[in-house]
């Protein structure tokens, strides 16, 4: 019997933009393996951490950052944006595709919004396929 491989997604989130809850894990249990990484601020997404998420087998990485103008450290989400853009370009050069990495503005408590992002990410993976570098 062939078991289809479940896609693996890493969600790196700023703790001010998202609250991890058991219900969230349950919602996607059968569809994907989701790894959550807590960040004190989204600016902590160093290039090497993003790359290592892909080395660890992620098919996609989603980064949750606070809405524009709402970073409690003022520039954190702006820096995150620059860092993510840089790694997206690198992922294109690598041949994995920068579209596997995405920045999402998120407000704490917006569970529906977070769920939609995961659903959209999984849908996109059906098009681009699982990571060839898994």
């Amino acid at each position: 019997m062939n078991e289809t491989v479940k896609p693996k997604i890493t969600v790196m989130y700023c703790i001010n933009s998202f609250v991890e809850q058991a219900a969230f894990h349950a919602a996607f249990k059968n569809d994907a393996d989701i790894a959550f990484v807590k960040l004190a601020c989204s600016s902590m997404v160093k290039d090497v951490y993003l790359l290592r998420a892909f080395e660890a087998g992620s098919d996609a990485v989603a980064v949750f950052v606070c809405p524009e103008g709402h970073c409690r450290y003022v520039e954190g989400n702006l820096r995150a944006g620059k860092r993510i853009a840089w790694v997206q370009a690198l992922l294109d050069e690598i041949g994995l595709g920068g579209n596997r990495l995405a920045l999402h503005h998120m407000s704490a408590g917006d569970d529906a919004g977070a769920e939609k992002v995961i659903k959209d990410t999984l849908a996109a993976l059906e098009d681009s396929g699982l990571s060839p570098a898994r």
Binding site: V48, L51, E55
Partner: protein, 222 residues
């Protein structure tokens, strides 16, 4: 510091293609400060190479190691073990460091991962500018501490060419005309008369045109 830029991933991949065990060797001094080859950049490149090869279905072992400087034995030695364990070394140091590594590990393939460009300064966050051409005969005193050999695209010593406009060089509108800067500086210092002095042709023997140079400090040799 010495400034350089990391080569493109495509070019680096081509260089290391024949090897299965690659050591990415970083340097913690100049190339670290210009984000070309420090410990962080070494980690990212190693990761990117692993992913790039994996994407093509090839498993390559890419190790990472960074030393303080690749231009001094004391630090180069620390990499000995790592060098021994790999097929090739991709050095992210400046061209001098790459060659120093190659000389000390004579039987190892050593490849450059950085395009070394100039001697410069960090002018402001994210901006590095070329300041010194290493001509070996410094005349900054005459020119108000702005170097025309390095910063004038034509190395003019006796004043600006006719292409200087709005304080910018004819070659690049983003580049300040060095002579405009010199004139301004000499004006500030009350040394405008320097501009009337005829500067004779430069003696290029002290520059790289005279051949690769050496500095011997007998007082430091036992």
């Amino acid at each position: 510091m010495i400034v350089g830029e990391q080569k493109s991933l495509a070019e680096i991949k081509d260089l290391v293609m024949p090897y299965d065990k690659i050591l990415v060797l970083g340097c913690g001094t100049c190339v670290k400060t210009c984000f070309a080859g420090g410990e962080d950049e070494t980690a990212v490149l190693a990761s990117a190479l692993r992913l790039a090869f994996k994407t093509e279905g090839r498993s390559v072992r890419v190790s990472e190691f960074t030393v303080e400087r690749q231009c001094e034995d004391e630090f180069i030695q620390e990499a000995s073990q790592a060098v021994k364990e790999n097929d090739c070394v991709l050095s992210l140091a400046c061209g001098a460091g790459v060659q120093a590594i190659a000389r000390r590990f004579g039987k190892t393939v050593v490849l450059p991962g950085v395009n070394t460009t100039f001697i410069g300064v960090l002018e402001k966050q994210g901006l590095f500018t070329e300041e010194c051409a290493g001509c070996g005969d410094c005349k900054l005193a005459i020119f108000g501490a702005v170097c025309p050999v390095t910063r004038c695209a034509k190395k003019l010593l006796n004043g600006p060419c006719g292409g200087s406009q709005n304080g910018k060089c004819e070659v690049n509108p983003d580049t300040d005309c060095a002579w405009q800067l010199i004139i301004h500086r000499l004006e500030t210092l009350g040394q405008l008369d320097n501009l009337r002095t005829y500067i004779p042709p430069k003696d290029w023997r002290t520059s790289n045109a005279g051949g690769p140079r050496k500095l011997v400090r007998e007082d430091h040799i036992i």
